[in-house]
Amino acid sequence: MAEEVRGAAEGEPSEASKPVRGAAEGEPSEASKPSYDKLIFELSSPGRHAFSLPEPDVPKSDVHALLPERHLRRQGAELPEVSEVDVIRHYSRLSRLNYGVDTHFYPLGSCTMKYNPRINEDMARLPGFGALHPLAPEEASQGALQLMHELAADLAEIAGMDAVSLQPAAGAQGELAGVLMIRAYHLANGERRTKVLIPDSAHGTNPASTAIAGYRVVQLKSEANGEVDVLDLERNLDNETAAFMLTLPNTLGMFEPRIIEIIERCHAKGVQVYMDGANLNAILGIVRPGDLGFDVCHFNLHKTFTTPHGGGGPGAGPVGVKSHLMPFLPTPVVTRREGRARRSRRGAERSADAKAGGAPTYALDWNRPKSIGKLQTFWGNFGMLVRAYTYIRTMGPAGLRSVSDNAVLNANYVMKRLEPYYDAGAPGPCMHECVMSARRQKKLGVTALDIAKRLLDLGFYAPSIYFPLIVEEALMIEPTETESKETLDEFCDAMIRIAKEAEEHPAVIHDAPLTTPVRRLDQTRAARYPDLRWRPPAESSRV
């Protein structure tokens, strides 16, 4: 979740319809761009192959003899025919057309693009985890279940919640789980509440998840600084209101100073309060949502806990609840039964315990009659859970606290350095991200989108743009704690250079990006004439 509009919305004037300007001085010319423009299908050559499969070792192997003809495929699938070196070279080349955290500073606000430690990858690929079948008997998956149980306990401690389900596959699925639990809770109390309150600054998934849970969404106005408009909230708190969902720190990167009072007011009307945990990395070890009074919150492991974003997932969106919502947790719940003797909860000692015959055992508990049910087929995005567990064990309590301290320091530093050149979306200090506005630059004909594209040329990924919606020409910058002062200085220098370019020769910004494999892409055309699959040139009718 928390992935908002980054590019131009459809329906904006076509970028491609603008006249092509000459390349600015000093910029790489057209010729220096990677020329590679093939799709794997265009590398295909009949009869080539990259697989290695054994010959059949059983007597009857003709599929036509084993299965009725009506079940067999009549027309083969036109998959590419390529050799292994074609595959390696093609995808290695494609990878180079991407900016990733490994190659570029990625100040994408609200998305928390921090460094992804390699040890996480190694641990997730241990055969005992990577090759484990989800329906292996419980006694044959104790290590995996123990890891899940401990991770859930760790996340509960970090958020001050009473229980955590690891099942949601992404933040948005965590939201759906959370809202469904709130719904089940009200229904169990004999209440049929119909609406959920969501600030206008919220991530788009909040209203979407709420609508799927069957609620009417009531949008609340935010104050200019992104804080909750308490009067507007008060007006909407009634017996029909099931929940209030908000992001903390808010989407302007600010901590909501009246949060405790807001939650108390909600609770006074029987309204449950949901925290969108997209920005949890700002407050690790500083504040716990549960201590503030939140009833539910989700975690984005792919943000706060360094699991990679993978170009758009997989993520993991565990959801934490207070005790009154525990009966409604998704099934199954990983439980722990003590061994004969009281044992340490940590794995290192566990092997020794196992030998002693007194080790605790872990199980999947399905017997939960009030559960909202399942969210995905198996038990969650386990590979992501291993990465997050590894990270938490690497950092420890002091390390996690330093994460937030440094994230906050970095964001405030960037904000301070940029303030003379860009308008701040809200007065500081901010938390782990800051929202700047290109209002001034827009008057000179340079938009947030232009600035984003220019940054790509200067060697940086772009901040989130046009989010939150309540800030004009928003540039939402989240440096994260894994960037050094030197990197931030380079980035700020680039931003300042662009501000000056906007005043002195904006053409160079309008031409950007020049160094990327393609230049500004025509979004309108893509939407108007959808071309969503490759076809051989002969039959290139669009679908």
Binding site: N98, L132, H133, A208, N406, N410, D531
Partner: protein
């Protein structure tokens, strides 16, 4: 802290620029009474060597498919994962990239999504595939919500062979929207044709059929499509795309929305996640499809390029009116699938299907010859089949663990009526010798 590059000197210099004495001063908006006044109650940080020891210890407690012979299926399969996949997805430019919102800096990811969409459309015989859903179960739930939206009807008929865990996901997604689920009864391993006809009415939004189904049997998809369409309903088919080298494409059988678990396409078992949710539709529904879509377009200079498109369906534009709340999907798993389908190509995927079928049918013969054991159903099956055992399958499976064999999936956990049933999966990775060893161990276990 090796992931935190700022030294105390850096911090001091930055604080001076900000004009703050300490980092604590930046947290002034957090009310004092809201603060945590103690360190988090977590174990202290571990050195990498200790950490590796800890995690290897946990991993070693699991009976994984590398150290055991895996005959377990039930929605997750031990198919061959070619080496290049892990190497290629480990390139930082792929796995540390974000959702391609700045297309000029994300052409690698966008091109692979476009290739993935093409391959899935080709494999399923559908017109349009999206960029992936979390897994097969959530893809099915999204398909059901889509059918409800398209038809304006609230009842869905699920055949009894739909995986119970997927069915529960559909129930979860549908509970707030008043979705009514009905079940069409099972005949001999597949849906009973008369029962299906009776379950469908003018209120039916969709029939959901899974093939091969929970029992490994091949459903009559075209017949189900005819029943659905006669009632003005859609047919949703849940398939395992790795089978589609050999099995008829859903698109050629009248399927309106095709979903499936794509884990078999080069994604490791991983204890069930992350997996690869496949979703593909007929072109009429292109603007109703949930999730992301990559499309081809041109840039300022007329060069081919790719963008995320038709975003008006999505929550960042339509918010509460979006077709779905899915945002982060499983792009890296879709990339794994794309690389897998490239490596396998036209011929390889056919071979995987042929080998799996041949070995599964051989195994069925050998295992059903064990005294007391029989094939439970007569319907045609593909790479998975159901045995009836003379002893409780859960106990038998536990016993076979001692022989380092993952015997299959006992169905008692899903349905008490099927408490004598064990579903056995045989992929192209299993050898004749392994099948024989399984039969020998099974014979001992049920004797």
């Amino acid at each position: 802290m090796r992931y935190l590059p700022n030294t105390p000197q850096n911090q001091r210099a930055m604080l001076d620029v900000i004009g703050a004495r300490a980092i604590e001063d930046l947290l002034v908006k957090i009310p004092a009474k809201a603060r945590l006044s103690r360190p988090l109650g977590l174990p202290p940080a571990l050195a990498e060597t200790d950490l590796i020891h800890l995690l290897r210890g946990l991993a070693a407690e699991n009976a994984d498919a590398d150290s055991y012979t895996c005959f377990a299926g039930g929605g997750a399969y031990d198919h061959y994962v070619p080496s290049p996949i892990n190497h290629l997805i480990s390139r930082g430019e792929f796995f540390t990239a974000y959702t391609p919102y700045q297309p000029e800096a994300s052409q690698g990811t966008l091109r692979t999504i476009y290739e993935y969409q093409t391959m899935i459309a080709e494999l399923t015989g559908m017109d349009v595939a999206n960029a992936s859903i979390y897994d097969g179960g959530s893809a099915l739930a999204e398909a059901v919500l889509m059918a409800r939206d398209i038809t304006g009807r609230h009842e869905v008929v699920m055949t009894a062979g739909v995986h119970p865990l997927s069915r529960r996901v559909v129930e979860t997604y549908g509970q707030g929207l008043g979705l009514q689920l009905r079940t069409a009864p099972l005949g001999d391993g597949i849906t009973d044709a008369d029962g299906l006809r009776k379950a469908v009415s003018s209120k039916t939004a969709a029939i959901v059929v899974q093939s091969p189904n929970l029992f490994g049997c091949l459903e009559e998809i075209a017949d189900a499509a005819a029943v659905a369409h006669e009632a003005g309903a859609l047919l949703i088919a849940s398939v395992d795309p790795v089978n589609l080298g050999v099995l008829e494409a859903p698109g050629a059988q009248g399927v309106d929305i095709c979903v499936g678990e794509g884990q078999g396409l080069g994604v490791p078992l991983g204890f069930g996640g992350p997996n690869l949710g496949v979703l593909a539709v007929k072109k009429d529904f292109i603007r109703r499809i949930p999730g992301r879509l990559a499309g081809a377009t041109v840039d300022l200079d007329g060069h081919r390029g790719f963008v995320l498109t038709l975003q008006a369906r999505e929550q960042h534009i339509r918010r509460e009116k979006a077709t779905s709340n899915i945002c982060t999907n499983v792009a890296l798993c879709a990339l794994m699938g794309t690389i897998y389908m490239s490596i396998m190509g036209k011929a390889g995927l056919v071979r995987v299907g042929e080998l799996s079928t041949a070995k599964a049918h051989h195994a069925a013969g050998v295992l059903a010859a064990v005294p007391g054991v029989r094939l439970r159903f007569g319907a045609p099956f593909f790479k998975e089949f159901t045995l009836a055992l003379p002893k409780p399958p859960e106990r038998v499976a536990r016993r076979l663990l001692k022989d380092r064999i993952l015997a299959g999936v006992p169905l008692a956990r899903f349905d008490r009526k099927l408490r004598d049933c064990l579903v056995v999966a045989v992929t192209e990775r299993r050898t004749r010798a392994e099948i024989d060893a399984f039969a020998a161990a099974l014979a001992k276990a049920v004797a």
